[in-house]
């Protein structure tokens, strides 16, 4: 039995849906993309010409919910279905789009470049807790015009895992879709076994920008999965109450799904977000706040009543260092996300309101994720009798009796998560002999080990060549003659 956390009664969920439909009618949704407005108009939405606001009737939502897939997979390089979007499956990936990385030696937040993204990809590649990679940080050593496509390019070259990504403009989303098609061999191949999913954000409150709606349409047409990342901020860009915020989130997701399904019915899309409260002292958006996790748990419950695949942003912290605050916020929120049965939980590795990444935090968070996944696995019955079968004639009434049972050897790995060296369970003596390190100190060592043991995936050289030529072309059009040198791809 998979343990589940739910915070809302059925009655409240029904009222959230009801009021979300009302919000779509009045005040309506601001849709700033002309093609999206045309799609909505021809489907029978109410158009207000002065301010781009569109009233979306409930019938349009019902129709979109009929065609939207309830279930789909992301695939790894070898074509294995790895990430299951649907039901109560739980996966984690590192947070996306950081602009800085914690320097483990100076503790400064350094501006991110190619080497930093590669560092994060190499570490995440070897941690089984992360079922997908993310395009984790922006590489400031390439021009702005290619900063989104370049991240995807690096992830494709350095990882075999599925990739959670996103585009920064309507032009580049198409370039990235083309890149995936080129890598897969054809647009059909890219659609049939999607390798990547794109985060697409509405703007709170109730706005689908030109860029956001344009991305939705391009993705729908390509058949590459889209993930709505609705970001209501309780008390600032959304009602102060959690229920008000979740209702606005529902309306924003509904509007996105309608636009997406009007562009191409049957294309895969995920009910997701990075909801947060608005901190009334600092004016910040705390990702580690318990209320943030409660908002996510609540909107996931709404999604599940509609049988929609789910995503959220949890497992991150607002601390600037990999410290106790980072540990407790990331661990608690990852646990809430997992217990909410959310299909993809993004955010691990991230500090400072999702601005800063850390490879060291990534390895520590992997342990929190392992605990959360263990919790989700639940308490299982492995044996016909619960206990009596263990007390056979070999019992000597000694403490070590059960260590000598075959069944102990057979089952202990299933019953217990065996943590990595990040988790300290040494005696004081051994801990002192190992240098009296705290979790961050141990994480620094583990990152070094993982970087040393990393080998780049075996990728068909013809694919690499196609990808390189495509990326170089984009780069040169953006004014950069040569791409940063990639050590692992230099021929001897």
């Amino acid at each position: 039995m998979q343990p589940k956390l739910t915070l809302l009664s059925d009655e409240i969920v029904a009222r959230i849906l009801e009021e979300a439909y009302e919000l779509l009618r009045c005040p309506g949704v601001k849709v700033q993309n002309p093609e999206a407005r045309e799609l909505l108009a021809s489907a029978g939405a109410i158009m207000y010409p002065d301010n781009n606001v569109v009233g979306i009737p409930a019938a349009l939502v019902h129709k979109a919910l009929e065609s939207v897939p309830r279930d789909f997979y992301l695939y790894d390089y070898d074509g294995n279905p790895v990430v299951h979007y649907g039901g109560d499956s739980v996966h984690f990936d590192p947070g996306s789009s950081g602009i800085a990385i914690l320097n483990p030696e100076t503790l400064e937040h350094d501006t991110t470049e190619t080497e930093h993204l590669l560092r994060l990809i190499k570490v995440a590649e070897q941690l089984p807790q992360y079922d997908a990679q993310s395009t984790a940080v922006i590489c400031h050593d390439v021009p702005k015009d290619i900063q989104d496509s370049y991240r995807l390019y690096l992830a494709l070259l350095y990882s075999k895992k599925p990739i959670v990504t996103g585009a920064f403009t309507n032009k580049t989303v198409q370039e990235m879709i083309d890149m995936l098609a080129l890598f897969a061999g054809s647009p059909e191949a890219a659609r049939e076994k999607p390798r990547a999913i794109f985060d697409v954000c509405p703007a709170p409150p109730l706005i689908w920008s030109n860029f956001g709606a344009g991305n939705l349409i391009a993705l729908a047409k390509s058949g590459i999965p889209a993930e709505i990342v609705s970001v209501p901020l309780s008390g600032a860009a959304a009602p102060v109450t959690m229920l008000g915020t979740v209702t606005q989130h529902t309306a924003e997701c509904f509007a996105g799904i309608v636009i997406h399904q009007l562009a191409q019915a049957g294309s895969p899309i995920v009910w997701g977000g990075a909801a947060a409260i608005f901190d009334m002292r600092k004016g910040a958006t705390p990702m580690g706040a318990v209320e943030t996790a409660m908002l996510d748990c609540s909107y996931a419950q709404v999604a599940k009543t509609l049988n929609m695949p789910t995503h959220t942003y949890l497992g991150a912290t607002d601390s600037k260092l990999v410290d106790a605050q980072a540990g407790l916020e990331s661990g608690i929120s990852a646990m809430v996300g997992a217990l909410s049965g959310i299909n993809m939980i993004s955010g691990s590795g991230m500090l400072d309101f999702l601005a800063c990444h850390s490879a060291e935090k990534l390895v520590i968070d992997a342990e929190g994720i392992a605990m959360a996944k263990r919790m989700v696995k639940g308490v299982q019955q492995h044996t016909d009798t619960l206990a009596t079968g263990f007390y056979d004639d070999k019992i000597n009434f000694k403490g070590g009796d059960f260590l000598k049972q075959k069944i102990t050897m057979k089952l202990f790995r299933e019953e217990q998560h065996l943590p990595s060296s990040i988790i300290d369970r040494d005696s004081t003596r051994v801990w002192k002999e190992a240098g009296s390190l705290d979790a961050f100190g141990r994480a620094k060592l583990r990152v070094k080990e993982l970087l040393a043991s990393y080998t780049r995936p075996e990728i068909d050289p013809a694919q690499v060549e196609r990808l390189n030529a495509f990326m170089l072309d984009l780069s040169q059009k953006a004014g950069l003659e040569e791409l940063p040198r990639l050590e692992e791809y230099q021929t001897a």
Partner: protein, 219 residues
Amino acid sequence: MSEDIEKLYKDMAQSIIDGDSDISVELAQKAIAINMPPLDAITKGFVVGVNYIGDQFGLGEAFLPELVMAGEAMKAAVATLEPELLKLGEARETMGRVVLATVEGDIHEIGKTLVGTMLSASGFEVTDLGVDQPAEKIIGKALEINASIIGLSALLTTTMVRQRELIEELDKENLRPRIKVMVGGAPITRDWATKIKADGTSEDAVGAVKLAKELVGKA
């Protein structure tokens, strides 16, 4: 033929690594049936498996149930071979005799039992007296069987002082360095072992075997 023998050695080691007493006994019987020298079966076959699991445990790659099951499989194999060894009059070279006990007033013994299993598997003759044992009884047993090592366990800070008392008793009787003393248990530190003039302490069962071998000069 020699390939078959090599394979048999490998299977013997693997049966220990798998912690499978049924198979290790079966292979020991097979060794007897084909007239393999029992000492070869132990040293070239089964011991290789014990050493492997011990190393893996030290690296954090193997876990306590695997260690214990390997020790049990080893004990079972050796017990099967022992009558043959006696018949041939070539007793396995013993690493030495060890008396193990948890000190008086203390009833914790998981760690001590593990140490006993691993010492036996490594060729020591182990007499485990169990828990709550007064010093005179432990010393008496050591003298009786001519043990070269006493292993003393204590889990409580209130009972660890008994380790010192036993060592003082041995010194008074001039029984050291003939009998070496290893101390162990959760609160036992290297400083404590030095302070009470023990011959050594170890963090875990694998380390205890290493220490015991050093103490008998067979490291």
